[in-house]
């Protein structure tokens, strides 16, 4: 495994304009801060797990990295180039190095195309002159890699199960031999037994091809297995970023602690004595986020200062940063 940094995200912020029903055309649209000031870096062969409740901006973060949604400010540095500064055609050559797999396996495959066409599409798009026999060979090759029989190439997506569809999606992402795959909740829609298969497949592929992964999920138990680093998001803000082990052993942010306490532990004795921290209340509206610390409306440790001052990211240990006024 090389340790070269391939992706650096610096202070990435994404805002959406939202206009509510019944607004007049001239009323100013409200700003929704979907992703707020997020920075991290990723090396080849590493996996960053991104965890948070739905609506916390994890999908937006993924889409901003691949320029599917415009970023308000910040940088996405890919192998030394700031992608956000590039025009569409300049960014195209990096497109083949960053691929994505999606949450709904069936919806991410065009129902009118057969599996062979679907998997070959990225190849045909970026290398339109590839001879047909090479395309076929490459398709077969990736199908083997993801554990699909290559005699299925002429079948159509609706003939497959969710897990198989996700494998097809992975095959499509792999065919250009990318360096980074962004997995947007790739297993949330799958059965638990199949989740493990897909996660294991991704880990095998990662080792084999020295891939970097960004793995998005809404609970910690899924990312635990696969991630080297974990980022916890809350309402578009990064609340904690640390190596996977550190997050589990010494979670510092109250939100992370609550998330961890919700992960079942296989040891019944530990599980019995475990203190379950419940998060009460609803996720506040991102249009109108709480002042100071975004988590304060649901935080058990909240003090006066939390509503007045936004906590800075502080390193509590090596490569373990937390945004909380009181980190113990």
């Amino acid at each position: 495994m090389s340790n070269q940094t391939i992706l650096e995200v610096e202070n990435l912020t994404v805002n959406f304009d939202v206009s509510s029903e019944g607004d007049m055309p001239w009323t100013k649209a409200k700003k929704l801060q979907a992703v707020n000031d997020i920075s991290f870096s990723l090396s080849a062969g590493e996996t960053l797990g991104v965890v948070g409740e739905s609506g916390c901006g994890k999908s937006t973060l993924a889409r901003a990295i691949v320029k599917m949604v415009p970023a308000e400010s910040g940088k996405v540095v890919w192998l030394g180039n700031d992608l956000l500064g590039l025009s569409h055609s300049e960014a195209r050559q990096y497109r083949k190095q960053i691929q994505m797999i999606f949450q709904d396996p069936l919806a991410s495959l065009n129902p009118r195309m057969n599996i062979g066409e679907i998997i070959a599409e990225p190849l045909r798009t970026h290398y339109p002159k590839t001879p047909e026999s090479d395309v076929k060979a490459r398709v077969r090759d990736v199908m083997h890699k993801v554990g699909l029989l290559d005699n299925l190439v002429n079948r159509y997506p609706h003939e497959f199960s969710g897990g198989q569809c996700q494998r097809i999606g992975i095959a499509r992402a792999l065919i250009l031999k990318p360096k980074l795959i962004i997995c947007d909740e790739p297993v949330s829609a799958l059965d638990v037994s199949i989740q493990a298969q897909v996660v294991n497949l991704l880990m095998d592929l990662q080792e084999e091809m020295d891939l970097a992964l960004i793995f998005i999920a809404h609970d910690l138990s899924v990312v635990k297995h696969i991630s080297t680093k974990i980022m916890v998001l809350y309402l578009g803000n990064m609340v904690e970023l640390a190596n996977s082990n550190d997050i589990y052993q010494s979670p510092s942010h109250p939100y992370t602690q609550a998330l961890i306490s919700a992960v079942p532990i296989p040891d019944p004795n530990v599980e019995k004595n475990k203190e379950l921290i419940l998060i009460e209340g609803d996720l506040p509206s991102p249009i109108n986020p709480p002042s100071g610390c975004v988590f304060r409306t649901r935080c058990q440790k909240a003090q006066d200062i939390c509503s007045q001052q936004k906590p800075e990211y502080k390193e509590v240990a090596t490569s373990h940063s937390v945004a909380c006024h009181f980190n113990d």
């Binding site: 991410s108 290559d150 005699n151 190439v153 002429n154």
Partner: protein, 308 residues
């Protein structure tokens, strides 16, 4: 030995891959359509009517504008349907052969229906897909235009058009076609909006597929189903509209005719006991309309995404 085995396995795999042809959604739909008896029978009847309108003239003894002076004015006594006189369907009040006139009317009515529907489908699909795909302000403006056009009573406009620009078959189907694309554009736009947010479109975008390819490769093929269904349901609507216009006496010009015009004449003379003048065109009209609706229904069931 092992090598030989490996080759064998590979051969087997190759064979499998040839036999492993998948069933595309189209093929699935065709099978489902065939299972729908009403739709399949309708399709055959409709094909029979269409071929009749092309082959029929070769058996005709009289042309559609030729007047049989014997029958003129005494249609009730002389002009009844008979093989001997060559008036298989009888004659109309002017002594013209109804068999030939029904064939002519069938051709014109079907042509108006199909051409009108094509104009509507092409204009509506392009307009709707553009509006839906571009989204935002453009979409808003384009759809408000459709709303405004929709609020205009369309029969009224059509009648005005025919009065102002004169009665001609060309005017008729341009008028009908251009006014009936509105629904089509709405349906296509809705569908495009749905498709645009599907993950496979996003997947294509992330990969770097161009907008044009996304529309042609991913959006249009997924629209075709609904367009096909709507088009088959549109044809009878347009035939009805044309018939209504012709019934008012504003449609096709003599000696050409259409179902609507024939039905009007037949209805006008029903009191002279020449019921065949009404019944023959009416039968063709009703049967064809039913066929179109059944086929449309069958197509919709066959292509319905809920059944997948």
């Amino acid at each position: 030995m092992i090598v030989a085995n490996k080759n064998k396995i590979k051969d087997m795999a190759d064979n499998l891959s040839e036999s492993g042809a998948g069933r595309s959604l189209w093929k699935d739909a065709r099978i489902r359509f065939m299972q729908n008896k009403a739709a399949t029978i309708s399709l055959f009847i409709l094909l029979a009517i269409v071929s009749f309108s092309f082959i029929g003239p070769y058996f005709a003894v009289w042309s559609y504008e030729q007047i049989d002076w014997n029958a003129m004015g005494s249609a009730a006594r002389v002009g009844m349907p008979s093989i001997e006189s060559g008036h298989f369907f009888g004659t109309d009040d002017l002594g013209r052969d109804l068999y030939s006139r029904v064939i002519q009317g069938t051709q014109i009515s079907l042509m108006v229906g199909v051409l009108g529907a094509s104009v509507a489908v092409i204009v509506g699909t392009l307009y709707g897909a553009t509006s839906g795909y571009l989204g935002g302000k453009t979409d808003q403006i384009m759809m408000r235009i459709v709303d405004i056009l929709m609020s205009i009573p369309y029969m009224f406009v059509l009648i005005l058009l025919l009065v102002v620009f004169g009665r001609s078959i060309g005017m008729l189907f341009i008028g009908i076609g251009l006014l009936s694309w509105l629904d089509m554009s709405r349906i296509v736009r809705g569908q495009t909006l749905n498709l645009k947010n599907m993950e496979f479109i996003e997947a294509a975008k992330v990969t770097g597929v161009s907008d044009f390819k996304i529309i042609t490769r991913h959006i249009v093929p997924n629209l075709l189903g609904i367009v096909a269904v709507y088009a088959t349901l549109l044809v009878p609507g347009i035939i009805l509209a044309e018939s209504f216009i012709s019934f008012l006496g504003l449609g096709v010009q003599e000696p050409s005719t259409s179902w609507g015009a024939l039905i009007k004449e037949g209805a006008g003379t029903i009191s002279y006991e020449t019921e065949w003048q009404l019944l023959f065109p009416l039968a063709f009209f009703v049967v064809s309309l039913f066929c179109f609706y059944f086929i449309g229904d069958g197509l919709r069931d066959a292509l319905d995404p809920k059944d997948r």
